[in-house]
Amino acid sequence: MSDQSQEDDFFEQRDDIGSPAVVRKWQYDAIVVGGGHNGLVCANYLAKMGLEVVVVEARGVLGGMAVNTTQDHGSLESSDFAHLISGIPGFIVRDLKLNKFGLRFSGHGTRTVSIDEEGRKLTLSPTLEESRESIERLSRSDADKYSDFTDHWTKVAAALKRFVSMAPPPLELGSHTSLESLHGWLEQAARVSPDILKRAQSGLMAPVADIVEDLFETDLLRGTLAFDAVLGMNVGPRQAGTMLSYLQRLIQRDLAMQSNVGYPVGGMTAAINALAKSAQARNVEIMTDARVTDIRISDGRVHGVDLEGGMNLDAKIIVSSLDPKQTILSLAGVRHFDLEFIQKLRAIRSNGAIAKIDLQLSELPNITGLNPDEFRGRIVISPDIDYIERASAAIKYGEYALAPIAEIVFPSLFSEEAGETHHMSAIIQYVPYDIAGGWVTKRDQFEHHILNALKFYAPDLLNKVLDARIMTPADIEDEFGIWGGNWHHTEFSLDQFGPMRSMPELAQNKTPIEGLYLCGAGTHPGGGLTGLAGHNAARVISDAVKRRS
């Protein structure tokens, strides 16, 4: 306990998050570029190793995409971008003692209410019994199979979770070390039971549609499960890689729940605050409004960063939580890399397919078939597999889905300070980054279309809208500096997964430049608000530091 009060006291003394103007020094062991959840997790672990660390964040607030606060939009403040919290793994919470820094958890997860055009609804709840009851109203046989389904895939997820908290093995052959590290992975694989491996094997490569259609007969159940699989992806549920995405989600859930900690009270904002506080308690310097303009490189290794405004910071280790293209093309500069590498880097698919819409409402709308109590979960529009697949086809041709899939939440219902108005936040998928005709001309049409699409489910919605704000993938790019505006930084797909994430040369969180590391969602295991990529990068850096000393 004394340990905690010490850290708390220390924190009391410095509750400022610095700006470049008040920075205390110029030289560090490590600079973390970007103060999102992965950057903060990485900074914490590096500081724990005893390194002197500074985090430089371009925006005025920490949290990156996890906390979507924009200063110019006071009316719609603090909407978590990824409003469904997949959760920081229990082991990271324990390692970083985040509960000492104000992170509290509530034991229950989010309830999903899925609705279709005919007014049917389905509730999937963290408690199996409730889900069963709801499914039973649609199909008896599906209700029976649902527990087997969750049981089966939860087991697979639990067995495979060991693979997300370490950097993937390099695929480059020929060097002694790489073969050895592959063997290391195989050793891990050998610990997983043969039965689970076999089940995982065919499942991992399958389209989620095959799995849920083979098992269930209800369209709404199939569509709802497939929604979780395709969320954040650019393809539909009939494509390979979507079951892997579903499994990834289960793994994240399993990791978050492994200590029964539940979900952070206060959402991702609270989690980010705790991460920042714990970092500062470990002597990490955090600078906001500190935009990196250049990563300084010479003789094939990093020396520091230049900040907007002319300030320079020096360090031998630079960890970027930005996406790989932004890091290498904009900040490091192509001249330091060979041509073939840059060509492959440019070929990484990184366009987002999600738009976010935030509505300020005079009061809660009516949603056909739902009672107000159900507004406290997430509301999903994803009625069947073919509906999703059709929606996904649009972006191939630079168009947005006319009938999109959507996830709606009402953050104002969770806010501790109840306000006069309500806030509805929805993510809309499949929306192209590059729209035919350009977003400048298509934006209003899109906004109009989406509001009308939502009106179908909430007939009185338009009368209650006080303010609306839409973020297209292009806006997300502008706001967060992510090339392509993809919230996974780079597309999550079979060919950009694991040892291929986002390209084989970058998959171990390293780059061809000595001392330059990546810790963002563009590295394994990808997106989701877990901080795992930050953790994995810190492990890689720790190994490198140990080898050198």
Binding site: L171, E172, L173, G174, S175, L179, L182, H183, L186, E187, A189, A190, P194, D195, L197, K198, Q201, S202, G203, M205, A206, P207, D210, D214, V235, R238, Q239, A240, G241, K344, A347, R349, D386, E389, R390, A393, K396, Y397, S493, L494, D495, F497, P499, M500, P504
Partner: protein, 526 residues
């Protein structure tokens, strides 16, 4: 009915090839065929006065030279005319013709882009390397005993050692090939739309995915872009049924009994051991071993009474995906149509042709198929086999054979009735006529088969010409259900010789040959 050592279901090419090998090995073999003729889908029929229509495939791709030699098929009249080339003609009237000669293909691509031409060489070299890696005896996925620590450390370790010989990047390039979309993969080599579309064109015939779908690049391995794909590629002189007749004669000479109009309705099983067959007229045929050339789904679901045995097998077979995507149009022409944008030489007109400008056109047709509607621009593979083989049409006249890709088995709008068929034929004819002003007026007759017809005529479930789609998960799960000898779990003496037993789903004849060799070896072991 006489007893046999081995009874074979279906007199398609694989069934007949298996029969030949087994009879030559000294077994008594009976082949049972539902139709009134042999050949399965490799058949032709008489069109109007003097035309020969191709009911199924119009070219052989990758037919095994060893099968040809060992069964002495040229003695029985099989003559393969090499395919002269493949041509893509785009909307701007530019064309690209390539063939298995790398130098000629290089010059043709160079016309569009020197860089693409140079990358074509790299592409061929990379594909050849990947074929070799794929051919390594891989750590097999699927059968239980192969997992576990020893397997992972030793087998995978050994395999990695072998892969390493193909270069530092062999493994990452392998993973890239097996997980990427065909579009991404091709775009990493080629810049010109016509080059990308041209190379993708043989990949997607019969496939239930489009070029932008994840995990479709590995399908490139099936295509014989150069000499690295073994086997004969070309037209069968006299029509595809000459292959079937050559196999029929070879089988009869080897002592095989071929029973036509003899549909098998059940495989008799006693105590998990095959006892024989029951025919549709209730005739019982005793046999020690039964070989089925039907697809996996049909074999499992229609031939067995699964009450007594594992229901899991039935479940897996039910979930096995077979999808029809191909329609077939035969067109009788009163002369060779003119294509003003193409040279009038046999390399082009006597080869395979398509009219795609870019990968998006192929993808758009796929998107329509997935929505169960007829694409406005279906993806065509056109050939005029009578250019190379005048015997297929009356003197001066020509036969055109068209594979129409991305045609749904079921239409959202209703049944495949006469009106729907005529609409499809018109769409296809119009697409061809857009490049050939005199085409429409040369048409004497046409005949169309849709996927449903392939199911009715050739017992291909859903009209799937591959006997099961080539998806990554299906390649894994298919081999999980089937044993290495094409066996089913819990049934002794039953083997499958469908293309599903090999990763290459073309008309190679290898499934029949391999299963026959393994069965013969099995008897020796006993």
């Amino acid at each position: 009915m006489k007893d046999y050592d081995i009874a074979i279901i279906g007199a398609g090419h694989n069934g007949l090839i298996a029969a030949c090998y087994l009879a030559k090995a000294g077994f008594s073999v009976g082949v049972f065929e539902r139709n009134k003729e042999v050949g399965g889908a490799a058949v032709t029929r008489e069109g109007p006065s003097g035309f020969t229509y191709f009911e199924g495939p119009h070219v052989l791709t990758g037919f095994s030279p060893s099968v040809m030699r060992e069964l002495d098929l040229s003695q029985y009249g099989l003559d393969i005319i090499p395919l002269p080339g493949r041509t893509t003609l785009n909307a701007e009237g530019q064309f690209l013709t390539t063939n298995r000669d790398e130098r000629q293909s290089f010059s043709a691509i160079k016309y569009f882009s020197l860089q693409d031409a140079e990358m074509y060489r790299v592409f061929l070299r990379d594909l050849t390397r990947q074929k070799r890696i794929a051919a390594l005896s891989q750590p097999r996925i699927g059968s239980d005993q192969r997992f576990g620590k020893r397997y992972l450390r030793e087998d995978v370790g050994k395999w990695l050692g072998q892969v390493e010989q193909f270069g530092k990047d062999a493994l990452s390039e392998s993973v890239r090939l097996w997980t990427s979309s065909c579009a991404d993969y091709l775009q990493s080599y080629f810049q010109e739309d016509i080059v990308q579309a041209h190379i993708a064109s043989p990949v997607f015939m019969g496939v239930d995915k489009g070029p932008f779908c994840p995990a479709t690049a590995f399908l490139l391995l099936r295509c014989g872009f150069d000499q690295s794909l073994h086997g004969a590629q070309g037209f069968v002189r006299g029509g595809m049924n000459r292959l079937s007749h050559a196999l029929e004669s070879a089988a009869k000479d080897a002592g095989v009994d071929i029973h036509l109009r003899s549909e098998v309705i059940e495989v008799q099983v006693e105590k998990n051991k095959v006892r024989g067959l029951t025919l549709i007229d209730s005739t019982s045929v005793k046999a020690k071993v039964v070989v089925s050339s039907l697809d996996l789904k049909r074999s499992v679901m229609m031939l067995f009474d699964w009450k007594d045995t594992e229901r899991g097998v039935l479940e897996q077979a039910r979930n096995y995906k077979l999808e029809g995507t191909l329609a077939k149009l035969n067109i009788a022409l009163d002369g060779l149509p003119k294509f003003p944008n193409l040279p009038q030489d046999s390399t082009v007109l006597g080869g395979l042709m398509n009219f795609v400008s870019n990968l998006f056109e192929i993808e758009a047709a796929y998107d329509a198929w997935r929505d169960q509607i007829v694409p406005s621009r279906p993806f065509l593979e056109i050939t005029i086999p009578s250019v190379m083989d005048p015997s297929l049409a009356p003197t001066g006249k020509h036969l055109m054979s068209v594979y129409v890709q991305y045609i749904p088995t079921k239409l959202l709008s209703g049944p495949w009735d006469t009106a729907a068929r005529e609409r499809l034929a018109t769409i296809v004819i119009d697409q061809i006529a857009a490049h050939s002003p005199d085409f429409t007026k040369r048409i004497e007759d046409w005949s169309l088969s849709v996927p449903r017809d392939f199911e009715d005529k050739f017992s291909l479930t859903n009209g799937d010409v591959f006997h099961g789609q080539l998806s990554l998960s299906q390649i894994l799960s298919g081999s999980a259900l089937l044993g290495s000898n094409g066996t089913l779990p819990g049934i002794d003496g039953f083997h499958l010789c469908s293309p599903v037993t090999t990763e290459d789903r073309g008309m190679t004849g290898l499934p029949g040959a391999r299963i026959a060799r393994r069965i013969a070896r099995g008897f020796e072991d006993e």
